[in-house]
Symmetry: C2
DNA sequence: TTAAATCATGATAGCGCTACCATTTGCGCT
DNA sequence: AGCGCAAATGGTAGCGCTATCATGATTTAA
């Protein structure tokens, strides 16, 4: 239980114990653990068996000390939804525990405030930066980091700029799928609430919606599209425009969950039942989606997977930079999924 | 920037550099850093000055390796609001970076699911556990941990059990203050939405409300109190009971933000304006509070402070356990604050 | 004043791991 | 067989820090 028993003579299993158990040198064990080559397959197997048997787990502190390889990575975020942030953190944490890197969390006020935060990171000696959702689309932030020669990875980057490594989902495809699903449920007039105009991902979502509608031979009337700003309030207002008419859509697709929740509130206020009279769907599957009633049908991103992967890629990049190896930015695309809850239903024939 | 420059000859400032700079032995520097006694005040000052001058910062990896003191602490949580969780994580992370301990995050399904999670922690060799909000009130979980002799600290523990260390706010006092504030705004009939009946903190909040009403000489009518379950939906329904009458209260105090948000939705549906016709206030100041419109007046707990403190206390406790020192559980109470937003207002004379 | 306790500091030896280089082993080739 | 070369393995020396004990400086008690 306790890691310590005395200054020496602890009960912790070390690489030496494994080595003795197998009958090789500690060095060989180290090589196996780190997946280096130049180890005979047979030896490798024996070592792995012993690791298992003795329940050995490497001591991160010793490793980072020996390798001098404690990457200091910072997570720089600006007001994401807290649901997003917490799941993001979960992924990052898991990965960082495995990789034994030192995490710093830094918040800033939008891309503007990022400048000073980045300045600070520089003086602190940060080896790399993770940029979650809103910040990952800021060219300004990307440029600042690049100028400082600090490696970074963007998460949920919508803009398909390939000059830095990023992990995202395909916003276009996701919006396309969701729209297609609504159409399959019998909806013909589907309203859309756009996200913030500055947000590139927001544009992609809209494009996906339009494409799916076109594919089904359905027309998108301008009056069925409302501008939103990703906030609850903006969804509330936008839905008012969309639903406050005689000829209203039977479904509304909001570009994020907060706006969808706002739309649900408006529907209720107008005396419309969700989903029997209007289906309302969101995007992101944040906690908001299950907090409101009825719970929202939405698009789910594997946020914690994505953040974990982002950290891993960042560490690779940092390592490459240190060894002077060439590094080519990667654009990873993860799969999204459609989560169907109670806010959507087939259009009623009434 | 990079932590590494070559196997040796890195540019990192070590304790030796500081020692040389001051003209003492590394050991003395170490002592100063760790705040040990038996160092002459004059020497201490000189060392501290050099630390500052050279911008030295201790290498956690080396320290934990030398002290054999890597505490493995687990954060065990069960479905808290994500807003709560993310802020909680922020506090924990900051503290853990400073203390150089190894964090594991573990989720479980309510107190029931905790059993297996705890079992797992045992085999993994966990030195201590942090228990956030809902779990910290489960006697079952507390007992399981105690039986295993694993130190733990509860956060936002409402039940005033003093047999384990905890960090909380005074739910009673907070509810009392909020109620008093509403009364000061001119409200005389104040409805209350209770939290989950199993939750002790929920009871304290109710008691605080009742006490404040009594203090002001106001009667609490049974029909002005509704049972809720901390969910949006339950707040939605409870508000219906409270507001769906001719003689309705002019304010509603919900035991958490989710229910307050639900209550706001109901008010809107009933055509009541918030706050001019009904004031609605919440508790916790989760992200939910600012996501709905109008934004909620609520009670704020210093969540990240509390979680950071909890980790610190946990580490103390672990250390005490290792050295065999006696340990007395502490019950820390932090200050809450009233956050006034747009969902509450003075009662109108109309 | 002198022995004994106390304090301030230093020297040494690792914590568990891996970088680096030395050595051994295996294997294909002439 | 003997050579060379590469693959496989081992030995050594720290990474930055602190536990421990040893030492010299200072105070206290007697």
């Amino acid at each position: 239980m306790a890691r310590k028993v005395g200054r020496r003579g602890g009960n912790i299993v070390t690489i030496h114990d494994v080595a003795r158990h197998v009958g090789v040198s500690p060095m060989t064990v180290s090589r196996v653990i780190n997946g280096e080559k130049n180890v005979r397959e047979e030896t490798r197997q024996k070592v792995l068996a012993s690791v298992e048997a003795l329940n050995y787990s490497p001591n991160m502190a010793a490793r980072s000390l020996a390798t001098q390889d404690v990457a200091r990575v910072a997570l720089l975020y600006s007001n994401p939804s807290s649901a997003y942030l917490s799941e993001f953190l979960l992924g990052i944490l898991e990965q960082s525990a495995q990789s034994g890197c030192q995490l710093t969390i830094e918040s800033c006020d939008g891309p503007e405030g990022a400048a000073s935060a980045i300045e600070k990171l520089k003086t602190t000696g940060t080896d790399g930066v993770i940029l979650p959702a809103p910040l990952s689309d800021s060219t300004r932030v990307a440029k600042a980091l690049k100028d400082l020669n600090i490696p970074f990875v963007g998460v949920a980057t919508a803009r398909p700029a390939v000059d830095f490594t990023s992990v995202s989902i395909d916003d276009y495809k996701a919006a396309y799928s969701m729209t297609k699903r609504l159409i399959a449920l019998g909806h013909r007039r589907i309203g859309f609430i756009k996200g913030h105009p500055n947000n590139y991902g927001s544009q992609l979502r809209y494009d996906g919606y339009v494409a799916a509608m076109a594919k089904a031979g359905l027309e998108v009337d301008d009056s069925d599209v409302a501008q939103g700003y990703f906030t609850y309030r903006s969804g509330f207002d936008a839905a008012e425009t969309l639903l406050g008419r005689d000829e209203r859509p039977t479904a509304i697709f909001a570009s994020n969950d907060d706006m969808a929740a706002g739309a649900v509130a408006t529907a209720h206020r107008l005396g419309l039942d969700v989903p029997s009279q209007v289906s309302i769907v969101g995007f992101d599957d944040t906690a908001m989606a299950t907090m409101v009633w009825p719970e929202l049908t939405t698009v789910r991103q594997p946020i914690s997977d994505m953040s974990a992967l982002a950290l891993k890629l960042l560490l690779d990049q940092i390592r490459a930079k240190r060894t002077g190896a060439p590094y080519t930015p990667i654009r990873e695309i993860r799969d999204f999924s459609l989560i169907e809850r109670q806010s959507s239903a087939a259009v009623s024939d009434a």
